[in-house]
């Protein structure tokens, strides 16, 4: 297939699709055509399209489940004016639970509670599953066989990420001995005063 035509068809497909499209999915769409492009041709056309969208109001972004055409975040100010509704906000409890699942998966609810120091409401787990950000991965083979949770591709798609590696890095945990070898036991006399 002529490269110009393939690029145009792909552009039409990205414009029409309401989900990210992977190279495999795109390849399947051409099966049976007389001029069937190979995966390499498709990849090349995608890169050309991405280059074309380097400037302007849209970008062709690669997220976990494929490529999608999206509005460039820098124009959010104006785009938001098109709608009266505000984006949903999520509580700290929910974000902390989600962060723990993302960074520590597979993880059980009990383990999340241990780290957060408070119980996790069922509603939070439910919201996360309903948004399809989190899914049960199986059961941990300990008494009670608690469910192990992990994040989904939809989670990465939603947060505009290609893979878990793109998550912001965790702050370092410092070692007690290393940083405070002369650890003073008695709290500088204050403790003794009690």
């Amino acid at each position: 297939m002529d490269a110009d035509k393939l690029r145009s068809i792909l552009e039409a497909l990205f414009a029409a699709a309401d989900k990210p499209l992977s190279v495999n999915q795109l390849f399947e769409l051409f099966v049976g055509d007389i001029e069937q492009p190979g995966k390499d041709e498709i990849r090349k056309a995608i890169h050309e399209l991405q280059a074309r969208y380097e400037s302007g109001g849209m970008e062709l972004k690669q997220v976990a489940s494929g490529f999608r055409l999206q509005v460039r975040p820098e124009f959010e100010t104006w785009v938001a004016r098109l709608w009266e509704q505000k984006p949903p906000r999520y509580s700290r409890a929910l974000m902390e639970t989600l962060a723990l699942i993302a960074y520590r998966q597979p993880i059980t609810r009990g383990e999340i509670e241990d780290i957060r120091g408070v119980s996790v409401s069922s509603n939070i787990i439910k919201t996360l599953q309903e948004r399809e950000w989190v899914k049960p991965l199986g059961h941990k083979e300990v008494p009670g066989r608690p469910t192990l949770y992990g994040t989904t591709r939809e989670f990465l798609d939603y947060f505009n990420l290609k893979s878990l590696n793109q998550l912001p890095t965790l702050a370092e945990i410092r070692d007690l001995d290393q940083f405070n070898p002369e650890f003073e036991f008695d709290d500088s006399g204050e403790a003794a005063a009690q």
């Binding site: 414009a15 029409a16 309401d18 849209m58 999608r68 055409l69 999206q70 509005v71 975040p73 959010e76 785009v79 984006p87 949903p88 999520y90 700290r92 409890a93 974000m95 902390e96 989600l98 962060a99 723990l100 993302a102 960074y103 780290i115 957060r116 120091g117 408070v118 119980s119 509603n123 798609d157 939603y158 947060f159 505009n160 990420l161 998550l167 912001p168 965790l170 702050a171 945990i173 410092r174 007690l176 940083f179 405070n180 650890f183 003073e184 036991f185 008695d186 709290d187 500088s188 204050e190 403790a191 003794a192 005063a193 009690q194």
Partner: protein
Amino acid sequence: MEPVFANGASNQSEMPFALVQGEPLTVIPQDLYIPPDALLVFLEAFEGPLDLLLYLIKRQNIDVLNIPIAAITKQYMEYIHLMEQLELELAAEYLVMASMLAEIKSRMLLPRPVTDDDEEDPRAELVRRLQEYEQFKQAAEDLDALDRLEREIHLTSIDIPKFEIDVPLPEININDLMSAFRDVVNRAEQFAAHHVEREPLSVRERMVIVLERISAEEFSSFADFFDPREGRMGVVVSFIAILELLKESLIELVQSGPYAPIYVKANG
């Protein structure tokens, strides 16, 4: 009573600034010197005992690795008492932490046998947990700051000429709808705070019909909402619907004088 903070003490701290259940309060930390309503919101903002402890530590610019356990325990207990006095529902975890702090404090007061090299600092476990919690608290903030759909990222909504392509719409049957309603109501009932009372649908439907017919700009005649052909029940349903809308401030009723015609208008 001694001032709570080593460097934050002032002569104000000796003055009872509030009576809580008849008891004068003199020892509230100074940064809590805020209206009670705000205080409530403030205390509820903590995500648990670790979060509260971290706050106490950060506020004094103390390194997590070197917690003055006695001072922090004391402050922590003061917050706990305050929460109890304000009758905030105190999660059990707060009390567990209080006893953990008390235990660490007492262990620290004991003279440490010089020979025992293996014994860990009693604070080690707490410090580990604080650091781990802080790590994920930060991670949650970082995650929240990422560009995401519906907020910074908007998907394109590019038209597909309808006459060319017939995009099938998902089909549902009434069964699915019923089971969705049953599930959501069952779930809501588990959380006692919410209630979904049964209300005759006909009233709800009539409310919608009324809302559709009226506007904020012009008045509609009250009498027009009653159709004698519907019989007594129909009239009652209309009447209840209008009362319900009035109660929810969705409509306004206007009458210029006694026995004058009543008019209905959308609120706002």
